[in-house]
């Protein structure tokens, strides 16, 4: 039987996604065996900083009775001595039953899967893929409404934001309509927009969030990174016009939900946190049942 990896949301078809989300929902209702992965070891190879992804994978493994091996930091491991990722993966395959990897280079998880003898889960590779985030984003949407046919507005850095790319690709399987609102230079990459359009997705660009706030079902906000701008003044100027506030949400539909992969900086006013629209902390919490379902899929 071939080793099962989870590298890209593009490797899933709609049935695969629905099945995994159904399983996550079952887990969420505490309907799971807490010893399902007893004796199994997950190697966590995080070559880039991570809080939510790393901790929720660790939590997921612990809740299923398994354990986690980690390298402390890039500086502390052999890659700092010039070892190739391929060699690191071959070695770690001998220590663990599965590997979860985050790496700054795009395609690193795909390479890891070629050299690993155990399943590999991609926890983010550069500006590339982040399938576990996409699955938990979809799961959070599904908790509030059926995913089919939704109108979703993606706001912020859509050029470098890998979570937005993966989610947009997955939503093309659900006949969603995509509205994009992003600063000049940070628009959805043309390649991706073309490929989504080929899959039949309708993509509508807007200049202002206010143009769509009363018509969309989901607002997906991403962080605009300060380093993309020449100076602080131009950053603050742009960032302030993409900020989600209670005043903006006053015109929203009752059922609109606001999602954010976190961490947020200034994109969402903290006063929104108590609004019934805010779902970003639920979204973060959903990382655990979704990642439990993913671990069970590759390890059982």
């Amino acid at each position: 039987m071939p080793t099962r990896h989870i590298i890209s949301i593009g490797d899933f078809d709609r049935n695969d996604i629905d099945r995994l989300l159904d399983h996550a929902a079952q887990i969420d209702e505490r309907n799971y065996d807490g010893n399902a992965l007893c004796g199994k070891i997950l190697a966590a190879l995080f070559f880039e900083p991570s809080t939510r992804t790393r901790m929720s994978f660790e939590s997921a493994m612990a809740r299923l009775g398994g354990s986690v091996l980690s390298v402390g930091s890039v500086e502390a491991c052999s890659m700092a001595k010039g070892e190739t990722l391929a060699d690191t993966i071959r070695v770690v395959s001998g220590y663990a039953d599965a590997i979860v990897i985050r790496h700054p280079k795009e395609g690193a998880a795909r390479l890891a899967a070629e050299f690993a003898t155990v399943p590999v889960i991609n926890a983010g590779d550069g500006a590339g893929q982040h399938p576990s985030q996409t699955l938990l984003d979809l799961y959070t949407i599904r908790q509030s409404m059926p995913i089919d046919g939704i109108d979703i507005a993606m706001v912020g850095d859509l050029r470098y934001g890998r979570t937005a790319h993966s989610l947009a690709s997955a939503l093309s399987l659900y006949n969603a309509r995509l509205h994009t609102i992003s600063p000049t230079g940070l628009e959805l990459p043309a390649n991706l927009a073309e490929s989504l359009a080929e899959k039949g997705m309708e993509i509508i660009e807007h200049d202002d969030i206010r143009d769509v706030i009363s018509t969309v079902d989901v607002l997906y906000v991403t962080r605009i990174q300060r380093e993309r701008f020449p100076d602080s003044a131009s950053y603050f100027n742009v960032a302030s016009s993409y900020r989600i506030t209670p005043e903006l949400l006053a015109d929203a539909r009752d059922h609109l939900i606001v999602l954010h992969p976190l961490p947020r900086v200034d994109e969402i006013d903290p006063r929104v946190d108590d609004s019934p629209h805010a779902r970003y902390f639920d979204q973060s919490r959903n990382g655990v049942p979704v990642r439990m379902a993913m671990l069970m899929q590759v390890l059982q």
Partner: protein, 157 residues
Amino acid sequence: MNASASGENEGLLVRRIKNGTVIDHIDAGEALNVVKILGITGTTQEALSIATNVPSRNMGKKDIVKLSNRELSKEEVDRIALISPRATINIIRNFKVCEKKGVEIPTLIEGVVRCPNPGCISNTHEPIRTKFRVLPGGLHCCYCDWVINRDITGHII
């Protein structure tokens, strides 16, 4: 290969080969890229003849590459389709054409073109060959999903 413009001194500019491969009907101007895509360099051993901008009845102008004492494999032949899909391959044995075939666009190419994405893992010192799926929209990097949809020859390794 071609006759002179005046019709005098009829004859071949490039001599016939006894054994090897003749790649004919290459799009005019692409012969050097065909040589490059086959990995033929100054340090390899093949005897090589190239004719460019040769008059052709069907193509107007074409290029021809002759390789002595080397028969190309199917995988090598199909690489040529990426830059010259009308090319034809003649396998020559003892001055006779023993096999004649067209080229087919491959579904996957390995180690032929470099990924233009500087952030791609294939542009590091990892022990891998570049890998691209050949799709209607262009060449898709199997590692980072980057698409090369123009100037393929500019990315040949």
